[in-house]
Protein backbone atom coordinates (compact mmCIF):
# COMPACT_ATOMS: atom_id res chain seq x y z
CA UNK A 1 0.00 0.00 0.00
CA UNK A 2 1.34 3.42 -0.89
CA UNK A 3 1.24 6.23 1.63
CA UNK A 4 -1.45 8.80 0.94
CA UNK A 5 -0.70 12.30 -0.30
CA UNK A 6 -1.68 14.08 2.90
CA UNK A 7 0.76 11.99 4.86
CA UNK A 8 3.58 12.61 2.41
CA UNK A 9 2.79 16.33 2.39
CA UNK A 10 2.90 16.57 6.19
CA UNK A 11 6.11 14.59 6.25
CA UNK A 12 7.85 16.64 3.59
CA UNK A 13 6.47 20.02 4.66
CA UNK A 14 5.75 19.60 8.36
CA UNK A 15 3.72 22.48 9.83
CA UNK A 16 4.59 24.18 13.10
CA UNK A 17 8.02 22.69 13.67
CA UNK A 18 9.87 24.41 16.48
CA UNK A 19 9.79 25.28 20.14
CA UNK A 20 7.96 27.64 22.45
CA UNK A 21 9.28 28.98 25.74
CA UNK A 22 8.80 26.19 28.28
CA UNK A 23 8.80 28.59 31.20
CA UNK A 24 6.05 30.82 29.82
CA UNK A 25 2.99 30.32 32.08
CA UNK A 26 0.77 30.30 28.98
CA UNK A 27 2.74 27.48 27.34
CA UNK A 28 2.11 23.80 27.97
CA UNK A 29 4.72 21.20 27.03
CA UNK A 30 4.12 17.51 26.45
CA UNK A 31 6.98 15.11 25.90
CA UNK A 32 6.03 11.53 25.09
CA UNK A 33 7.79 8.51 23.69
CA UNK A 34 7.17 5.11 22.18
CA UNK A 35 9.25 2.47 23.94
CA UNK A 36 8.74 0.04 21.05
CA UNK A 37 10.84 2.17 18.71
CA UNK A 38 12.47 4.85 20.86
CA UNK A 39 10.70 7.69 19.05
CA UNK A 40 10.34 10.91 21.03
CA UNK A 41 7.80 13.67 20.44
CA UNK A 42 7.60 17.12 22.00
CA UNK A 43 4.41 19.10 21.47
CA UNK A 44 3.80 22.57 22.89
CA UNK A 45 0.72 24.76 22.97
CA UNK A 46 0.30 28.42 23.80
CA UNK A 47 -3.00 29.85 25.02
CA UNK A 48 -4.33 33.35 25.47
CA UNK A 49 -6.01 34.38 28.72
CA UNK A 50 -9.30 32.83 27.59
CA UNK A 51 -7.86 29.37 27.04
CA UNK A 52 -7.82 29.68 23.25
CA UNK A 53 -4.92 27.86 21.69
CA UNK A 54 -3.15 30.54 19.70
CA UNK A 55 -0.02 28.62 18.77
CA UNK A 56 1.29 25.07 18.67
CA UNK A 57 4.75 23.73 17.90
CA UNK A 58 6.28 20.29 17.79
CA UNK A 59 9.55 18.48 17.42
CA UNK A 60 9.42 14.81 16.60
CA UNK A 61 12.34 12.46 16.32
CA UNK A 62 10.96 9.40 14.67
CA UNK A 63 9.56 7.97 11.48
CA UNK A 64 7.65 9.85 8.78
CA UNK A 65 4.29 8.77 10.16
CA UNK A 66 5.15 10.11 13.61
CA UNK A 67 6.23 13.44 12.10
CA UNK A 68 3.11 13.67 9.95
CA UNK A 69 0.85 12.72 12.89
CA UNK A 70 2.26 15.44 15.13
CA UNK A 71 2.26 18.00 12.32
CA UNK A 72 -1.42 17.31 11.67
CA UNK A 73 -2.24 17.40 15.38
CA UNK A 74 -0.71 20.87 15.80
CA UNK A 75 -2.68 22.10 12.80
CA UNK A 76 -5.91 20.75 14.23
CA UNK A 77 -5.55 22.13 17.74
CA UNK A 78 -4.61 25.67 16.72
CA UNK A 79 -7.60 27.98 17.21
CA UNK A 80 -9.43 25.51 19.44
CA UNK A 81 -10.39 25.94 23.05
CA UNK A 82 -8.04 24.11 25.40
CA UNK A 83 -10.60 21.44 26.29
CA UNK A 84 -11.58 20.98 22.65
CA UNK A 85 -8.00 19.96 21.90
CA UNK A 86 -8.66 16.83 23.95
CA UNK A 87 -11.41 15.84 21.54
CA UNK A 88 -8.83 14.96 18.91
CA UNK A 89 -8.62 11.20 18.78
CA UNK A 90 -5.84 9.13 17.34
CA UNK A 91 -8.40 7.40 15.13
CA UNK A 92 -9.12 10.75 13.43
CA UNK A 93 -5.42 11.04 12.62
CA UNK A 94 -5.31 7.46 11.36
CA UNK A 95 -8.23 8.17 9.06
CA UNK A 96 -6.97 11.52 7.77
CA UNK A 97 -3.49 10.21 6.97
CA UNK A 98 -4.62 6.67 6.06
CA UNK A 99 -2.00 5.23 8.40
CA UNK A 100 -1.32 1.51 7.95
CA UNK A 101 -1.87 -0.72 11.01
CA UNK A 102 1.86 -0.86 11.90
CA UNK A 103 1.89 2.94 12.17
CA UNK A 104 -1.15 3.39 14.37
CA UNK A 105 1.08 3.83 17.42
CA UNK A 106 2.40 7.03 15.79
CA UNK A 107 -1.08 8.56 15.95
CA UNK A 108 -1.45 7.38 19.55
CA UNK A 109 1.79 9.18 20.31
CA UNK A 110 0.42 12.42 18.82
CA UNK A 111 -2.79 12.15 20.86
CA UNK A 112 -0.76 11.43 24.01
CA UNK A 113 1.45 14.46 23.29
CA UNK A 114 -1.57 16.77 23.00
CA UNK A 115 -2.97 15.39 26.27
CA UNK A 116 0.37 15.79 28.02
CA UNK A 117 0.71 19.40 26.82
CA UNK A 118 -2.82 20.27 27.99
CA UNK A 119 -2.19 18.56 31.34
CA UNK A 120 1.06 20.49 31.77
CA UNK A 121 -0.71 23.77 31.06
CA UNK A 122 -3.52 22.97 33.48
CA UNK A 123 -1.03 22.01 36.17
CA UNK A 124 0.76 25.32 35.63
CA UNK A 125 -2.52 27.24 35.85
CA UNK A 126 -3.51 25.38 39.02
CA UNK A 127 -0.18 26.19 40.63
CA UNK A 128 -0.54 29.85 39.71
CA UNK A 129 -4.06 29.97 41.07
CA UNK A 130 -2.94 28.44 44.32
CA UNK A 131 -0.13 30.95 44.66
CA UNK A 132 -2.42 33.88 43.92
CA UNK A 133 -5.38 32.85 46.03
CA UNK A 134 -3.89 31.17 49.04
CA UNK A 135 -6.50 32.95 51.17
CA UNK A 136 -9.62 32.64 49.02
CA UNK A 137 -10.62 29.11 47.94
CA UNK A 138 -11.08 28.64 44.21
CA UNK A 139 -14.69 28.76 43.01
CA UNK A 140 -15.12 25.90 40.59
Amino acid sequence: MAYNNKLIDHFQNPRNVGSLDRDDPNVGTGIVGAPECGDVMKLQIQVDDNDNIIDAKFKTFGCGSAIASSSLATEWIKGRKLDEALEIKNTDIVQELALPPVKIHCSVLAEDAVRAAVADLKAKAARKKQENTEAAPAAQ
Binding site: I31, G33, A34, E36, V40, K59, F61
Partner: protein, 202 residues
Protein backbone atom coordinates in the same frame (compact mmCIF):
# COMPACT_ATOMS: atom_id res chain seq x y z
CA UNK B 1 12.53 -23.78 46.29
CA UNK B 2 10.42 -22.63 43.36
CA UNK B 3 8.94 -24.83 40.68
CA UNK B 4 11.04 -23.09 38.04
CA UNK B 5 14.26 -23.91 39.83
CA UNK B 6 13.20 -27.54 40.17
CA UNK B 7 12.48 -27.77 36.49
CA UNK B 8 15.84 -26.33 35.51
CA UNK B 9 17.70 -28.68 37.82
CA UNK B 10 15.92 -31.51 36.07
CA UNK B 11 16.90 -30.12 32.72
CA UNK B 12 20.55 -30.18 33.72
CA UNK B 13 20.58 -33.73 35.02
CA UNK B 14 18.14 -35.34 32.58
CA UNK B 15 19.05 -38.79 31.33
CA UNK B 16 19.06 -39.90 27.71
CA UNK B 17 15.95 -41.94 26.88
CA UNK B 18 17.95 -44.03 24.46
CA UNK B 19 21.16 -44.88 26.36
CA UNK B 20 20.37 -43.59 29.86
CA UNK B 21 23.55 -41.50 29.75
CA UNK B 22 23.69 -38.03 31.34
CA UNK B 23 22.82 -35.12 29.05
CA UNK B 24 24.26 -31.61 29.32
CA UNK B 25 21.37 -30.29 27.23
CA UNK B 26 17.88 -31.80 26.87
CA UNK B 27 18.40 -31.56 23.09
CA UNK B 28 21.45 -33.74 22.75
CA UNK B 29 22.99 -36.80 24.38
CA UNK B 30 26.76 -36.39 24.62
CA UNK B 31 27.12 -40.11 24.94
CA UNK B 32 25.08 -41.70 22.13
CA UNK B 33 24.64 -38.46 20.11
CA UNK B 34 20.86 -38.86 20.01
CA UNK B 35 18.85 -35.69 19.29
CA UNK B 36 15.64 -34.73 21.07
CA UNK B 37 13.10 -32.09 20.06
CA UNK B 38 13.26 -29.09 22.37
CA UNK B 39 9.97 -27.39 21.46
CA UNK B 40 8.53 -25.45 24.35
CA UNK B 41 11.79 -25.41 26.30
CA UNK B 42 13.07 -22.07 27.52
CA UNK B 43 16.43 -20.75 26.31
CA UNK B 44 17.77 -21.45 29.77
CA UNK B 45 16.56 -25.05 29.77
CA UNK B 46 17.89 -25.67 26.28
CA UNK B 47 21.38 -24.66 27.36
CA UNK B 48 21.11 -26.35 30.74
CA UNK B 49 21.09 -23.22 32.90
CA UNK B 50 18.88 -22.23 35.77
CA UNK B 51 16.48 -19.43 34.85
CA UNK B 52 18.51 -16.68 36.46
CA UNK B 53 20.02 -13.40 35.31
CA UNK B 54 23.33 -14.28 36.85
CA UNK B 55 24.99 -16.25 34.08
CA UNK B 56 28.68 -16.91 33.62
CA UNK B 57 29.28 -15.62 30.10
CA UNK B 58 32.21 -17.92 29.53
CA UNK B 59 30.25 -20.97 30.67
CA UNK B 60 27.37 -19.92 28.42
CA UNK B 61 29.63 -19.56 25.42
CA UNK B 62 31.26 -22.92 26.09
CA UNK B 63 27.94 -24.67 26.50
CA UNK B 64 26.53 -23.06 23.38
CA UNK B 65 29.50 -24.18 21.30
CA UNK B 66 29.50 -27.67 22.79
CA UNK B 67 25.79 -28.33 22.20
CA UNK B 68 25.86 -26.63 18.79
CA UNK B 69 28.65 -28.92 17.72
CA UNK B 70 26.65 -31.89 18.95
CA UNK B 71 23.46 -31.06 17.08
CA UNK B 72 25.20 -29.70 13.97
CA UNK B 73 23.55 -30.88 10.70
CA UNK B 74 26.95 -32.05 9.43
CA UNK B 75 26.99 -34.76 12.08
CA UNK B 76 23.44 -35.95 11.57
CA UNK B 77 22.43 -37.81 8.43
CA UNK B 78 19.23 -37.86 6.45
CA UNK B 79 16.83 -38.85 9.22
CA UNK B 80 18.07 -36.38 11.82
CA UNK B 81 18.77 -33.45 9.55
CA UNK B 82 15.50 -31.56 9.90
CA UNK B 83 15.52 -31.84 13.69
CA UNK B 84 19.19 -30.94 13.71
CA UNK B 85 18.52 -27.79 11.70
CA UNK B 86 15.68 -26.81 13.99
CA UNK B 87 17.76 -27.32 17.12
CA UNK B 88 20.66 -25.36 15.66
CA UNK B 89 18.40 -22.39 14.95
CA UNK B 90 16.94 -22.65 18.45
CA UNK B 91 20.42 -22.72 19.98
CA UNK B 92 21.52 -19.67 18.02
CA UNK B 93 18.50 -17.75 19.22
CA UNK B 94 19.02 -18.89 22.82
CA UNK B 95 22.64 -17.77 22.68
CA UNK B 96 21.74 -14.42 21.11
CA UNK B 97 19.24 -13.66 23.88
CA UNK B 98 21.16 -15.02 26.85
CA UNK B 99 24.52 -13.52 25.95
CA UNK B 100 23.11 -9.97 25.77
CA UNK B 101 22.53 -8.47 29.24
CA UNK B 102 19.53 -6.36 28.16
CA UNK B 103 17.86 -9.07 26.09
CA UNK B 104 18.49 -11.60 28.86
CA UNK B 105 16.80 -9.38 31.47
CA UNK B 106 13.92 -8.74 29.05
CA UNK B 107 13.54 -12.46 28.36
CA UNK B 108 13.74 -13.50 32.00
CA UNK B 109 11.15 -10.90 32.99
CA UNK B 110 8.84 -12.18 30.26
CA UNK B 111 9.44 -15.78 31.35
CA UNK B 112 8.45 -14.90 34.91
CA UNK B 113 5.21 -13.27 33.82
CA UNK B 114 6.17 -9.72 32.87
CA UNK B 115 5.01 -6.95 32.72
CA UNK B 116 5.83 -6.71 29.02
CA UNK B 117 6.61 -3.45 27.21
CA UNK B 118 3.09 -3.49 25.80
CA UNK B 119 1.55 -3.83 29.27
CA UNK B 120 3.68 -1.18 30.94
CA UNK B 121 5.03 1.57 28.72
CA UNK B 122 6.20 3.79 31.56
CA UNK B 123 9.44 5.69 31.22
CA UNK B 124 10.79 8.38 33.56
CA UNK B 125 10.09 11.90 32.21
CA UNK B 126 13.77 12.80 32.57
CA UNK B 127 14.72 10.01 30.16
CA UNK B 128 12.40 11.52 27.56
CA UNK B 129 13.69 15.05 28.08
CA UNK B 130 17.33 13.93 28.09
CA UNK B 131 16.99 11.91 24.90
CA UNK B 132 15.02 14.72 23.28
CA UNK B 133 17.74 17.21 24.19
CA UNK B 134 20.43 14.87 22.88
CA UNK B 135 18.53 14.42 19.65
CA UNK B 136 18.24 18.16 19.17
CA UNK B 137 21.97 18.57 19.75
CA UNK B 138 22.80 15.71 17.42
CA UNK B 139 20.57 17.12 14.70
CA UNK B 140 22.12 20.55 15.00
CA UNK B 141 25.66 19.19 15.06
CA UNK B 142 24.83 17.05 12.03
CA UNK B 143 23.79 20.14 10.08
CA UNK B 144 26.87 22.15 11.02
CA UNK B 145 29.16 19.10 10.83
CA UNK B 146 30.43 19.68 14.36
CA UNK B 147 32.25 16.44 15.17
CA UNK B 148 33.32 17.55 18.64
CA UNK B 149 29.68 17.89 19.69
CA UNK B 150 28.80 14.55 18.10
CA UNK B 151 31.61 12.85 19.99
CA UNK B 152 30.48 14.50 23.19
CA UNK B 153 26.93 13.23 22.56
CA UNK B 154 28.26 9.72 21.96
CA UNK B 155 30.10 9.82 25.27
CA UNK B 156 27.00 11.00 27.10
CA UNK B 157 24.78 8.34 25.53
CA UNK B 158 27.34 5.70 26.48
CA UNK B 159 27.43 6.99 30.06
CA UNK B 160 23.64 7.00 30.35
CA UNK B 161 23.51 3.45 28.94
CA UNK B 162 26.16 2.26 31.40
CA UNK B 163 24.18 3.64 34.34
CA UNK B 164 20.96 2.04 33.06
CA UNK B 165 22.69 -1.27 32.44
CA UNK B 166 23.97 -1.30 36.02
CA UNK B 167 20.43 -0.62 37.26
CA UNK B 168 19.01 -3.39 35.08
CA UNK B 169 21.53 -5.94 36.25
CA UNK B 170 21.01 -4.85 39.88
CA UNK B 171 17.28 -5.44 39.57
CA UNK B 172 17.38 -8.49 37.32
CA UNK B 173 19.50 -10.55 39.71
CA UNK B 174 16.70 -10.15 42.27
CA UNK B 175 14.06 -11.66 39.95
CA UNK B 176 11.38 -12.98 40.37
CA UNK B 177 11.01 -10.32 43.09
CA UNK B 178 7.82 -8.45 43.92
CA UNK B 179 5.59 -6.32 41.67
CA UNK B 180 7.50 -3.14 42.50
CA UNK B 181 10.81 -4.64 41.50
CA UNK B 182 9.40 -5.96 38.24
CA UNK B 183 7.81 -2.69 37.27
CA UNK B 184 11.04 -0.86 38.14
CA UNK B 185 12.92 -3.28 35.88
CA UNK B 186 10.29 -2.79 33.16
CA UNK B 187 10.80 0.98 33.31
CA UNK B 188 14.58 0.60 33.06
CA UNK B 189 14.24 -1.75 30.09
CA UNK B 190 11.87 0.71 28.39
CA UNK B 191 14.38 3.51 28.96
CA UNK B 192 17.25 1.58 27.36
CA UNK B 193 15.48 1.59 24.00
CA UNK B 194 15.51 5.39 23.84
CA UNK B 195 19.27 5.53 24.35
CA UNK B 196 20.02 2.60 22.05
CA UNK B 197 17.99 4.32 19.37
CA UNK B 198 20.27 7.36 19.67
CA UNK B 199 23.19 5.30 18.40
CA UNK B 200 21.30 4.86 15.12
CA UNK B 201 21.50 8.58 14.50
CA UNK B 202 24.99 9.13 15.89
Amino acid sequence: MTAEADKSKQAVTVKCASCNGPMSSPAFCDHCRNLYPADGLSHFELLGFEPSYDIDNQALRQKYLQVSRGVHPDHHGESGSSLSLRLSAQLNEANRILSDPVLRAEYLLELLGGPSAAQDRSVPPEVLSTTLMLREEIQEAGVTGDNAVLNDCRTRVRECLAVLLATISDLAVQLPGDDDLRSELRTALNSVKYYQRLFDVL
